[in-house]
Assembly symmetry: D2
Homo-oligomer: 278 residues x 4
């Protein structure tokens, strides 16, 4: 135990004394600056109409980036695994129509090149936080990387995983806290807001939070989102669906359009209280 | 897993449909209303001068209540165990001088009557969250109770412990989240802000947060305090010492007077963003 | 992390270099010697007939000590809390009839003297592992103490709690591992057999295991019991009821008489493979 | 919570009513039969001399299979990552010389074909338990798979991961419990012997245990190994090095040749007490 010290074992990721925060740019979006970045979108890309509608209301609410899964890492092999390459094309269309950059998850090192052609940012999901071949390919892809924390990853391990990305040539990485696994069963995971505060101290890279996977229940997503910003998060990754009850996956934690707009407004007030904006 | 439902097993603690929030009064202090309550003070009561000084700057910063331990539950039998009854007298003097109500921990059911004569509110600490004889005595004492969550207490168990207090005749109880024990070693505990959001939904009783024990490191206390309020907490229990390096216990997590004032100001901005105050 | 070193902070409990194992005697029973001690009995003392029947088959199977709760620490205040003083009398009768010494839990420091008059050994339960006034009273009682590990207790904290008992004058203490709380929900708790191996190394005191609370399901109790002995445990504390389906508490994890006899036989074979007996 | 029921979501992995245990053959070795399989070898393959020496004393002690890592999944990118393809060649030589089949870890789906040419059994490591592309490739490779549990994996998730392997065409899979991550810091991980008992009940596939990674300390490896067999494990995966202090990785948990022989003898006695052998 004890407060973390800037680590010699992660020289590229750790903040050196006096080093300013790194701004990670994805299109026009800037992670790590004064503005808190709001990313919205469905768990899984389902069809073109869904993504176009979503992009419209995400943007109207103040969101500046779009998320959506083309490949879904599902615990069970018989669950819906995503549209794959067809999902990438739908994301490309939605970006074209909305002007919003897109982030999507890549699961397989063999897909990195393909995904990097379409996506503006590559997401490495929780289950792959120590998938080292994937981290290396993502780092070598030239695309910014969004690195989610694993469900049982310590902060030090997470920093080391980010170091794999940077050591492979990547320079733009954003951490994403999404809740950890604990003994407490009420919510899906336990959001570790302390990790946000610690990371803002020990690394120069931006940190965002996914309150949707942490809560697993729409009723509690906004409270967690506010807490994340209050703890210092540089952005939010929020699941939203234009019709949550029809979602092919994770409907219970997906905000509808009005709920998404309410979250944005509520979080904007917190951001402004900290001299930031959203 | 799954979102909690109002529990039939905890009829006094659970919020009935449409039931308004309960306001718990301790002297002039109101827990659960628009104003976020800030409680400050040292881990352990050391002497009269310390408590008088502390009361002055806590009050000046906007704090409305004083904390201080007369009996300290220490993991090791050879560590400082608190001043005991002499500590209670010092607390009484500090209250007299400052006008601030005091909350202090009681460890032993045989001490409840004695502590209740002096303290305005009885604290049940994390290690005693399932000390049922103590919960019953506290409930029967007539004093409001501050019930800390145990390091590995589920939300449902915590509600049941509160039910013991109310079933024994108590009516005024405030929950205090203080971080749970997880695999993550960087900070002392993992603050579970989700529990605040859940409790505000399923019980009519107020919920406050102790960011000091969660962080265990002054550098991160204020960020956790802000996150707590953003998640909906009705108050904060913060360790502060007029000279942290001289503290007999928990100095590493105790804010000095200026840091305490900064925390109050920073948290006030968050409270106001939520149409509350501090 | 790292292997534990004999602790300076727990001088009475830690094993000094070359120090032999301490044998804790309870009546004719010896904990810590060649013979593995088997303790059997119900979760809760219900009536005299129940205890007499239980004592008979526990003894016939090779058990040498009787357990049964007179006061039950129940999570919910409205659940059956035990027979209290009447339960003690039933235990005394069962001991008289069977010749087996009895161990029973004490929850309240005010009851220690009373319980110590009847019980041959005082059990401190998981929820009270850091109930320091209770530990001190138990240590001062003159009776041997069975100290269960808390659901959230690290090995180092457990040693410190034992040190409270010995520092208060106790000399005879037996540790009891009973499963810890983790993220894994399948069984009731996660039996930490590693803690048995570690304790046998760093303390001179005996260590037993409660496989019933760890498993929470009769189908898995015997496998855990065998594992415990294979890891070096000096005894077993097993829940058994002459008619598990009628048990007032914990029926799902209580072995019937035949299952208890099978467990004893299966564990005896493991003990003999290690040059011990049961 | 609650005892697991044979899962409809994992039809290939779950044990149907009355279904006999599946025997998984790797060369002459049989997992799941009367004989407990002992696998020994170093964390990392270092050179040919090392593997030849190791094979000799592993075999002499009663071990029937060889382990050794050619690719090592290291938390930090700057740590030794294994010899890669050269390591495979060394393993092939050691098999040739000793007649013992070899198991080695594969990290990257692109390497599965190559590793399957040499290795008799493919290990999927803890960090890759939910690396679904890798699970599918391993399942399609035609080689038996050794599937380690992740540090954070529930039993139900572990079954689902095995279902990926079988759904991809694999038929021979062995589970390997290796300790889970909990709050307890004394040993490297907490060996969950309960998972062994549960798996033997709900799946028809064999289950072995890695006591070396669970303990992280040679002093406790043998006790955990004995406990594993007593709980019903069908085999052991043990780290051993002919000169542990010179090992390139994991020296602290690697048994020397004499310690390995002692472990085998001690575990054989336990196996025989259960009418098995080793």
């Amino acid at each position: 135990m004890g407060a973390p010290q800037p680590g010699k074992s992660t020289p590229l990721v750790s903040r050196k004394s006096g080093q300013p925060a790194t701004i990670v740019a994805v299109g026009d979006v800037r992670f790590g600056g004064r503005k808190v970045v709001l990313i919205g979108g469905p768990c899984a890309v389902e069809n073109s109409d869904q993504m176009t509608r979503t992009a419209a209301y995400v943007s109207a609410a103040g969101g500046s980036m779009l998320r959506g899964g083309a490949w879904k890492p599902r615990t069970n092999p018989y669950d819906f695994q995503g549209l794959g390459e067809a999902g990438l094309e739908i994301l490309a269309e939605a970006r074209q129509a909305s002007g919003l950059p897109v982030v999507t998850e890549v699961l397989d090192p063999r897909d990195v090149e393909l995904v990097a052609e379409t996506a503006d940012m590559l997401q490495i999901g929780s289950r792959n936080v120590q998938n080292f071949p994937l981290l290396r390919e993502a780092g070598a892809s030239g695309r910014p990387v969004l690195l989610k924390r694993g469900m049982m990853t310590t902060i030090n391990e997470w920093l080391s995983s980010a170091e794999y990305v940077l050591a492979a040539g990547g320079s733009d990485l954003v951490f994403c806290e999404r809740g950890i696994r604990t003994f407490e069963p009420t919510l899906r995971n336990t959001l570790d807001v302390g990790s946000v505060a610690v990371l803002k101290d020990i690394t120069h890279l931006p940190v965002i939070v996914d309150p949707s996977h942490a809560a697993g229940d729409v009723r509690f997503v906004t409270a967690l989102a506010r807490a994340a910003i209050a703890a210092g998060a540089d952005g939010l990754l929020v699941e939203t669906h234009f019709a949550p009850k029809q979602a092919l996956s994770d409907g219970a934690q997906s905000l509808g359009p009005d709920q998404f707009a309410d979250l944005a407004e509520s979080c904007r007030a917190i951001a402004r209280a900290l001299d930031r904006d959203l």
